[in-house]
Symmetry: C2
Subunit: 551 residues, 2 copies
């Protein structure tokens, strides 16, 4: 019945994946979900606070843990989550996987699509939980953890649905041998690799988690979700919704388990090194990511740190460009993995339709645009959101001591709604191209570096080298010259970095759209995987063919 219900959705998603034009199953505007949904969501979120989270269909916990603090109120959420021994989680996953691995992919796809529909019912709860764990604004919390995450999940379901039906389940093979022929009945099975583990991060606890979860599940693997201890609630709600649908439809809810832990007793390594954990999806810092990638006998999918560049060569309308970039760097205080950090601007300035604007004038305009945005009472606090943790805030505070020339010193910004919110405006530093000790690393959070280059070829050379050595997830380039555009595309693409050209208005380099944009290419040090190309799916199962002689 679920198959009938969701077949059109799944097929449309498969088509969208291939065509890569605009497509979305879950509208991104909150109002699409009802006028009172927002208010109800706030209410039901508040009812979750200061008590154990008992919505999970997991039993046998050995304790309860929880340490989330709202970046907006500085108060503890007071939600606790059951904790389980690693072996117990893995054993339950293995048991649950037995039946699931043999469930036809069409049935799996339908059940999983139904779980997305159930998650949709909790979009506003998840949004509030995201806001008060990550520090994202309400709008970003809603979109990233709600419709955008669900769209990415559906994208993974659809890719799996397509890949697993690539070969016929059985085929008659007949080899002519002259006077007779040999006949074999062949069967092809996509055998799941084993228990999956998805390790979440503190800034995008749902968006970065669901693709791995659904990629594991659609390919027949059970999955264990290990959230960041400071951002559990949003994904706990999603996991409980998934478990409800699984149980309602006769599947073992242990197919998708939550493995909450605490920062003083992290279980990530124990889970990752468990011999029965075969698949690991990871989002987070590079040091731990490199450790994950080094584990023998595991198939791993990582998104790590990168340093994203902006290349300014020539523009039609400088003000429109500057506005766009000021928003890009301010959005969620530079805590998006797609946020630009290094701005390469030639010392000769930027050509515009109204003549060349000098380097210093471009820098001044950019500074003014950031100042104008963050101090705009209607826009500032909402754009910046809050800084997720103290560590990032400390780094942002100390950024002016990194070296170079301080163009704009980051300062606290008031949030009218939440007086204790941890809000900090970007610091902008100007450095020379020789200061690679300053700009050759990720400065996670609200820190922007402007690097003065000789000319655009020099800009390209530096941006390419940065992406090759340190990884990059995005690159924004501005040029009105077709040859330069081609050169930038070629050079950045050669280090597996996508380029967004000439973005102005209501589209920013930070945004990656499901069904169209690959998120992370997987080809440079920023990560080895991509939402959602074929590799993200086909590495999770193994094609095995059996044959039998037909006499």
């Amino acid at each position: 019945m679920l198959v009938t219900k969701h077949q059109n959705t799944i097929e449309a998603a498969v088509k969208a994946n291939h065509e890569r034009a605009f497509y979305s199953q879950y509208p991104e505007h909150p109002k699409a979900y009802g006028e009172d949904a927002h208010a109800k969501g706030v209410q039901s979120y508040q009812q979750l606070l200061n008590k154990p989270f008992k919505q999970l269909l997991q039993t046998g916990e050995t304790g309860w843990t929880g340490e989330e603090v709202s970046p907006y109120t500085q108060e503890v959420l007071g939600v606790t989550y059951p904790s389980f021994p690693v072996d117990d989680l893995v054993k339950k996953a293995i048991t649950a996987g037995q039946q699931w691995g043999k469930t036809p992919v069409g049935e799996r796809a339908a059940v999983l699509t139904e779980t997305l529909e159930r998650i949709k019912d909790y979009f506003f709860d998840i949004a509030n939980a995201t806001m008060h764990t990550t520090g994202q604004s309400f709008m970003m919390s809603f979109q990233a953890s709600g419709p955008h995450a669900n769209d990415r999940a559906l994208e993974a379901i659809a890719t799996g649905y397509h890949e697993l039906q690539r070969y016929p389940p059985q085929v008659a093979w007949e080899k002519p041998m002259g006077k007779f022929s040999i006949k074999l009945q062949k069967t092809f099975r996509a055998i799941p690799k084993g228990v999956g583990l998805v390790i979440g991060c503190s800034t995008f606890p749902v968006w970065n988690t669901l693709p791995g979860v659904y990629a594991d599940l659609i390919t027949g693997n059970p999955v264990i979700v290990k959230p960041h201890p400071r951002a559990i609630l949003p994904i706990a709600i999603a996991v409980s919704a998934i478990q409800q649908v699984l149980q309602d439809n006769g599947y073992d809810p242990a197919l998708c388990q939550l493995a909450a832990d605490s920062s003083d007793h992290l279980i990530t390594k124990e889970l990752s090194e468990h011999p029965d954990v075969k698949l690991i999806d990871y989002t987070g810092g590079s040091t731990f990511g490199n450790y994950i990638e080094s584990l023998p006998g595991k198939t791993v999918f990582t998104e790590k740190a990168g340093v994203n560049s902006v290349l300014l060569d020539s523009v039609k309308d400088l003000d429109a460009v500057i506005q766009n970039l000021a928003f890009s760097v301010s959005l969620y205080s530079g805590q998006m993995c797609t946020a630009p950090q290094n701005f390469f601007i030639p010392e000769t300035g930027v050509r515009t339709d109204n003549g060349v604007v000098s380097f210093n004038d471009v820098v001044q305009k950019f500074r003014d645009a950031v100042v104008g945005l963050v101090n705009n009472p209607k826009m500032g606090a909402g754009t910046l959101g809050a800084v997720q943790n103290e560590g990032t805030l400390t780094r942002a505070r100390e950024a002016q001591q990194l070296g170079g020339k301080v163009i704009l010193a980051g300062t606290e910004v008031a949030n009218d709604e939440f007086s204790k919110a941890r809000v900090f405006a970007p610091t902008i530093l100007e450095v020379s191209s020789a200061d690679n000790n300053i700009y050759e690393k990720e400065l996670f959070g609200p820190v922007v570096l402007i690097i003065k280059t000789k000319d655009t070829p020099h800009t390209i050379q530096l941006a390419r080298q940065m992406a090759r050595k340190h990884g990059a997830i995005t690159c924004a380039a501005y040029t009105t010259d077709a040859a330069v555009k081609e050169k930038i595309a070629d050079e950045m693409n050669s280090v597996f970095t996508p380029v967004s050209f000439n973005l102005t208005g209501f589209i920013w380099v930070n945004q990656h759209a499901a069904f169209s944009d690959f998120h992370v290419t997987g080809g440079n040090p920023a990560g080895n995987a991509s939402f959602t190309n074929q590799e993200f799916i086909v590495k999770r199962f193994v094609w095995v063919g059996n044959r039998e002689l037909i006499e």
Copy 2:
């Protein structure tokens, strides 16, 4: 023009890949290539001997090397090959790759298909060269290094052709925003990963090499072929044919270079560890294979050692089964990676349509069938071929001292045509299931172990454990019981091992057919790659998407 010429071939191959029914582009019977082709091939092969191999379009060699010895005549072939510094090979590959990486995949596919047509012209030269380097019989040499290898190559071309056209090269993306919409022009590029290296083995120097070569080339990567120093000539002929076609059609022949070396100065590690070598295909022993898999920053495809099992439960016609298995173990003296080694037989015997045959009687029948085959003047020497190297021969000679009960002691077998041929019949040992120190490893060459088990569940348990721990490429199972069949399939598939059921007559477990059978699953220790699933192709390039705002 080549596109027009080969379009049907390529599209038919894509279709065959998906459908997995019987398909072959290159007929496997020598007679299909003309009545005098064989004789001409012997002649032109002989003209290659005792001189430098100058057919390669590679210049700047720093020396000449060659040490091949015929397993049939024990004479040196006397062919020498140019040798090049590793850096020189890699630099030339990078240069050649620049243009090739941007060549449309349809054009690449056509040129590569044309190279297969050129290789076809040398099938008989390659067959004779294969025979006198590997020790394969003429028929196996012809089929494996000729039509079967070409079919596998075409399979890789077709899979690449399909995968690289998975997404549109460009698409208009339009996001409705209420009163207006945002329009982006998106382009999707499949960026090649970098220089490929294919490391060949001494037993199947063409068959195991071409898939990696063509997978690299179709995905836009240049490739360096590093053959085993004792089996260079067959693949040197193929590489020179590829180079000719590339040059004739205006491409850089350095896209596919031969990197011959000698056993006293191997360059495999230097090549593998070169920072610009990004892709490595490897066939050979597990120790070196594990080293290759451990190299950081490389995408690797391995086929290593495995231990293949035969599971005997119940049969219709025991004699037909025994004949089939006797041939399987004798074919090329067990030097195929698909050859069975461990025979699991219950102590209670094997059920047949004519009653139960006792364990001892089954063993005796198997022994007699092997003796009958190897001593058959029309069949014996031709089936066994020759042992490729002295090491394998020594191991085979010493096999009776491994322990257990010697059922058949391997002996030299005369080859009427080549009196000095290194021909050795299989040794058969009977061991108990407790003798895992004997049977828990690959005994490459003509050695067969019969393991007495308690019953079929015990058989399955042991065979599964072997495959899980030591890898397996094939598994032959005989049962007339549907439930047992399902159990064997489930258990062996769970350790990513394919099962061939109830083969008798002119089809053997050793055979894997292009366009239908996946060769090696990639899921157990016998190797991490598979000819040719999606993973074999998609890991060689990276999808990168660029976007530009349309105003």
